[in-house]
Assembly symmetry: C2
Homo-oligomer: 214 residues x 2
DNA sequence: TTCTTCATGTAATTAGTTACATGATTGA
DNA sequence: TCAATCATGTAACTAATTACATGAAGAA
């Protein structure tokens, strides 16, 4: 028992350790490559959290000598695996989104239409960039390469969501760029057709209809 | 000049004040109703940030008496409007996602298939609930009601994204539930067909193809 | 008139980020 | 052999959350 309780971030690290042992630096690499898209945390956190896992008896640390300095490699303990399985059994929180560009779109009537449209273009570029990176990894797996082939099913489920997420950002940006194409320079003077409001409401209603289905 | 620089959260509040003056409690209501979906922050933050805006000369505070206690109402200053417009001119960050349920899916090979599937069901229920709320507001606007009719174009752009986001969570959960339907109890023994990997890769490649288009 | 919920904050705590420091490795 | 980059961390700081406290308003 030690130093605060376990957070979702703790379990994110613990989950990585369940795959194989990692040095702290390798953990930061994984954060950039995969985990960062669903649970982003600063690298320095990854030097801190594993210590908490060790204090709870869920992981072990081994000091590995590289040249004159030491590197710490962490691995999961049997207790750690049990704790992870228990955590996986609990419901978990829905998605939480932080989207600064969308915030700027929301308040765009206080700025200019060119500013709004360049924000939309930036969002679209973001989606393209993410998708490029993801497509490259996908092709790598299709070619028979790619790390952790045993975990492909879990990666497919996860990447299946992320790619759709990137696609929705892209599609939305295109749609919004088209919609604002003929707006006056002052966006507070713009109007949208009733059919557009109907269309976006239908999207929500289609999903809401699943309530009955269960 | 005072007490730290302005953050995105500061501008989120400033944007609300540009619409009309609000008491702090009203600001927390707006956080629940609209802003919380794209820039979620705890209520207590909303009691603190406006003070920073005042210290920077971007907002004014008026103490309003209600019974024996006082309520603070904040309003934007001309300098505040200019600062907001400048901020809207800057590019802004792409979306950042925190998705605990997806994290559990990612590590689901360390648990059981029933646990995985109940996580998927929870994600789907989340999407349905959000969409219900959003659809109700959409119908309200279609009936001619709804607050801030002058800002409907900006709300359409914003809600247009959010509804598609809810829909993508829903569609993904259904897809994943179908895909895992015949999985063995131990999900680390599951496999997925090559066509599925091809399909999710095509999604990313379709978006990446926009690079050429610009 | 008492209970509950709405309303208005402050204080304590924690999670997370930015900045810094420095050794190891590689390649020009 | 020097510069650049990779690797490994710590410390200071800030943003944000949770917990708490209490007055006002309305319902039973």
């Amino acid at each position: 028992m030690a130093s605060g309780s376990l957070t979702t971030t703790s379990y994110a690290i613990l989950g990585l350790l369940a795959v194989r042992p990692w040095s702290t630096y390798e953990l930061t690499q994984q954060m950039e490559r995969s985990l960062g898209h669903l649970w982003p945390r600063a690298a320095s956190k990854l030097y801190e959290e594993p210590k908490k896992l060790v204090a709870h008896g869920l992981a072990r640390a081994r000091a590995d000598a590289v040249g004159r300095r030491t590197r710490t490699v962490y691995s999961i303990t049997p207790r750690g695996r049990r704790a992870l399985a228990r955590w996986l059994d609990e419901p978990g929180e829905g998605p939480v989104l932080e989207f600064e560009q969308l915030l700027k779109v929301f308040f765009s009537d206080q700025g200019t239409t060119p500013a709004l449209r360049s924000t939309l273009a930036a969002a679209r570029a973001w989606a393209v960039e993410q998708s490029e990176r993801s497509a490259a990894i996908g092709r790598q797996y299709l070619a028979g390469a790619g790390p952790f082939p045993a975990r492909i099913p879990q990666q497919v489920l996860t990447v299946g969501f992320l790619n759709e997420f990137f696609a929705v950002v892209h599609r939305w940006a295109l749609w919004a760029e088209a919609l604002t194409d003929d707006w006056p320079d002052d966006p507070s003077a713009a109007t949208v057709a009733r059919e557009v409001v109907e269309a976006i409401t239908r999207v929500a209603e289609a999903v809401a209809a699943d309530r009955d289905v269960g």
